[in-house]
Amino acid sequence: MYETSYNRVSSVTEAATALDAADDPKILAGGQTLIPTMKQRLAAPSELVDIRQVDELHGISMQADGAIRIGATTTHAEVAANADVRAQLPGLASLAGHIGDPHVRYMGTIGGSLANNDPAADYPAAALALGATITTNKGSYSAEEFFTGMFETALQENEIVTAVTFPVAQRTAYAKFPNPASRYAMAGVFVAQTPSGPRVAVTGAGQEGVFRMPAMEAALAENWAADSLGSIQPDAQDMLADIHGSAEYRANLVNVMAKRAVAAA
C-alpha cells in the first residue's frame, strides 16, 4: 500500500468539504474493494475520506408509497436481514445475503457497490431491474442514467451517493452463477414483476456492465413463467470472455439464471 492519509468525517457536508480540499481523494465506506486494491498498490489515493460513521447515510426505511430507501453506508448484511426488505423485495434481500463472504457482507456497503459499478457486482442488477433511484449530495439518477459502463457511473468527481430507493415490485428474485475463484457473478440475473411490467437485468456477463434483457421482459409480460424464456439469451458478441468462461457460455448462463430466477420469484 502506498502512503495515504485518513480522514473520518461525521456529516455529508464535512465529507464534501474534505473531498474538495484533497488532491486525489477516495471515499471510503466499507472498503471491501478499495482497501484490497490499495494493498495491491493498484490505487494510490492521497486521502481517504471515511463516511462510515455518518449517521445520515445509514439505515433502511419504508416510504409512504411502499418504496424502500436504503442509506448508502448500509451494509449488505443489514439489507439481507431487514424485515421490510425481506417482505417487500425478497429478491433484493437474497441478493444481499449472497454477496461475497460474511466478512464482505458485514463491511461492504450498498452505496460503495453501486458507485464502483464492478461489472460482476450483484447490486447493479437489482437497481436496474427494480428501477431504483440513486440519490447523491448533488441530485439523483435513475438506474438507467447511473450505470454508464464497466466501472463507470454518471457520478461527478467527489459526488457522494447518499441513498438508493427501490420502488415496489410484486415479485422479485435473483439467481447468479458465481465465478468459481472470486465468487463474483459470472452471470447474475435479477427479475422483477413491477407495476410497469416485468424487468430483467443482468450483471457479470456483459462487456459494458449491467444491462436489461428486453426480449426476456417481453416474453415474461406475455406469461410470467420460466418456460416462456425458452432459449432467449443475449448476443454472445456482447458478453465477457476470460479463463473462467467464454462469451458463449456466459450467454447460456444468462438464460439459465433468468429461468431459475423466474421460477424462484
Binding site: 452463477f177 475463484a181 468462461g245
Partner: protein
Amino acid sequence: MKAEGIGARVLRKEDNRFISGKGNYTDDVVLPRMGHAAFVRSPHAHAKVLGVNAEAALAMPGVDAVLTGHQLVADGIGNIICGWLVHSKDGSPMNMGAWRALEPEHVRFVGQAIAVVIADTPQQAKDAAAVVDVTYEELPAVVDSLAALATEAPQLHEEAPRNTSFDWELGEEQQVADAFANAAHITKLDLTNNRLVPNPMEPRAALADYNSAEEHYTLYTTSQNPHVARLVLSAFYNVAPEHKLRVIAPDVGGGFGSKIYIYPEEIVCLWASKKVGRPVKWNCDRTEAFLTDAHGRDHHSHAELAMDADNRITALRVETTANLGAYMSLFSSAVPTYLYATLLSGQYDIPAIYANVKAVYTNTTPVDAYRGAGRPEATYLVETIVDKAARELGLDPADFRSHNFIRSFPHQTPVIMNYDAGDYDATLSAAKQAANYADFATRKAEAAARGKLRGIGLSCYIEACGIAPSQAVGSLGAGVGLWESAEVRVNPVGTIEVLTGSHSHGQGHETTFAQLVAERFGLPTDNVTIVHGDTDKVQFGMGTYGSRSGAVGMSALAKALDKVEVKAKRIAAHLLEADEADITIEDGELKIVGTDKKLSFTDVSLAAYMAHNLPEGMEPGLKEGAFYDPQNFTFPAGTHVCEVEIDPATGKVEIVQFVAADDFGQIINPMIVEGQVHGGLVQGIGQALLENAAYDADGQLLSASYMDYTMPRADNVPSFKLETNSTLCPSNPLGMKGCGEAGAIGAPPAVMNAISDALGGVEVSMPATPEKVWRLAQAALPKQAAE
C-alpha cells in the same frame, strides 16, 4: 490402548498457540535495526537484461542499498542447485541452465528476481523497487512443454538444446513392445496433468542476521528442512560454513513441498545482511508467491495399455513430457522420473512397463515437488487408463481393477519398486461398501429424474512414501541420504525432550511424536516436549516431505527410545536388585514383573543424573540418539470412490459422496490422520475441479491471485467418509506407511472418472471447469436420452 499412546485421538498440543494467535512465525521475529527487502522482478517471461539503473531508487527515503546480480556473482554466491542427477537414456547427464539468485543478464520467467532493495520499512523498499529502472530486450517466450520441444521454439538455455534437460527411460522397451504385439486389446490415452500453485497459508519469509564480530549468520525462514537448507546454503551457495550458519524454521504455516527448496530470496537476504550490515527481512506477498513458489505437476502424457484375452493387463507404455519451468529446482529432476515412473504399476500385476520422460524448460515458474510429487501424476495416468480400458472392454471398473490386482507380497514391479505389503481387495471392498457401490444405479435414476447427471468413479492408488532408503536413492542419483535422526533427552525429573530432524508445518508432530513416548513409558504427553526446526538445537536431520516423518522420523525416535528403555531398565534392575529381563515399564513406572516392587520413571531418571548408585561402569545421564535409515520405501494404498452430480444447464459439478478407504499401516493418532486425509482430498479435488495455473502465450500468469486461481473451499467438498484397513509395513519398527499425500494422490482420478461416468464415458481434462463440463453435457444429453 493407552490413554495417550498409539491409536489415541489426542488433541493437538500445538493448536493452543495456533488458534489463539500465539504462533511464532518468521514474520513475527523482529530484530533491532532490521531492514526490509523488496525484489525487482522481471515483468517479461523471456528477456535480455541490458541494464539496471538504481539511481532514482537509491535517492528514495529510507533506502539503504540496491543490490544486483552482477554484485552477487562477483561475491561468489553459487548458482541454485538441483539435488538429484538424472541421466538421459543415452547415458548423458541432465542439461542444467544456470539459475542465479539475482539474474544479471537473461530472465526466463515472469517474477524472476533481478535486484533487491533494502530499506528501513517494507513500504519504502517496495516504493524504491518500483522505480529501479531495468532495460530489457524482450525475447519470444514458450510456455507449453510440447511447444518447447519444437525445433523453432525459443531456446532458454545454451546448455539445453531443444530446451531438453533430459530424455530418460525406465523399463524394458522391447519386452513391452512384444507384449503389445500379442495384445488382445489395446487402450490408448492422451492426458494432461494440470499445473498447480501450492498456496500454503503462510507465504514464504526470510530474516537473515549477519553478526560481523562472530562472522556468523542466523537465518529465520519458512523451511520444511532447516538442516538441508543450511547444508545447501553452505556447501553450494558459499554463504558461510555450516558451523557459522544457524537456520531456524520456527512455526511454519504449511508447505506442501513448496518450502523444501532454498529459493533466491533466502540466499539474497543472507548475502545482503552482510553487505548492508544489518538484519534483512523479506516477506513474500501473495502475488509473489504465485509467481515464485515452485509450481506442481504440468505433464503431458501419451499412454497405452495392453490386455490379453482374459482381460489381464500385460503391458503399459508411457511417453511423458514434463514441464520444468525456466530452471531446475531442487527436486525437479526426481519428481517426473523416480517419484513418477516407479509408481506406474499402480496396484496391478503388470509384467512389463516402459516409460520415457522428457523434461523440458519453458518460460514459466520452476516446477518441483508439490504434495504427492510424481505419484499423483502416475496415479492419475494409471487410474484413468484402467478406467478407460474397463469401459472399452465392457467391464465393471471395480471388477476389472480387482481382476488385475497384485495379491502376493513382496511384489517386484518392472519399475524398481518392491511392494512389501498390502491388501488391495480389502480397501476396494471397504470403499465399495461404504459408498454403497452396488446400489448406484438407483441413485443415478433418481438424479436423472431431477434433471441431474450422476456418475461414480474409482481410484485405486498406491504411493511410495517413507522417503527413502539412502543407498537406493543414492544409486539413482540423489545427492543426499534420506534417513532421519532423533534424540531423546530425559531430564533429571523424568520429563522428556525429543529432538527430531523432522519438521512440523501442520502435521501435528508435537502431538504424535509425544504419543510415541507416552506409549513407550506410559507418561502423559504433557511431560514430553518436541523440539524441531533449529539447527543449533537439533542434530542434523533431513526434514519433512514425502510422507516421511512418521515412517522415517518416528522410526528414528523409536530407535532412540529403545536405547533409553534399555538404560532405564538397567538402572531400575540395579536399584531394585532384580534381573534386567524382569523389568517392565508401564504407566510411568518400572516394575519387577509379578511383584509390587517398582520405581517411578522420575526415580530412575533422577538416579541416572545423581549417579550415586549406578551399575558398575555405567555413564551418568539418560540421553540417547539414533539415526534411522529405511530399508525400503513404504507403500500406502487404498481406494477412493467419488460420486458426482452434474447440472447439465450450467456444467457445475457437485461432489455428492466421497469415500476414502486407505491402508496407512500403523496409525498413531486417527484424528490427525483424518485431518491429513481431509486436507489431501480437498487439494486433490481442487486439482480435479478447480485449480489451474493458466499462462497466456506470452508467459504471463493469468491466475496470479485468488480472483482467478480457484482454491477449493468448504462448500466445494462433501463430508468425507473415511475407512482405514491396515496392513503393517514390515520394513520399519512401527509398521507405519504415511498418510500426508494420499488424498492428493488418490482423489483426482476418482473425481474425473466419476465425471466421465456421468457424461457417458467421454474424456474430460482437469480441471473440469463448469464450461468444459457444460459443453460435454450438452453433447452427452441427447445421446443419453436416446439410450
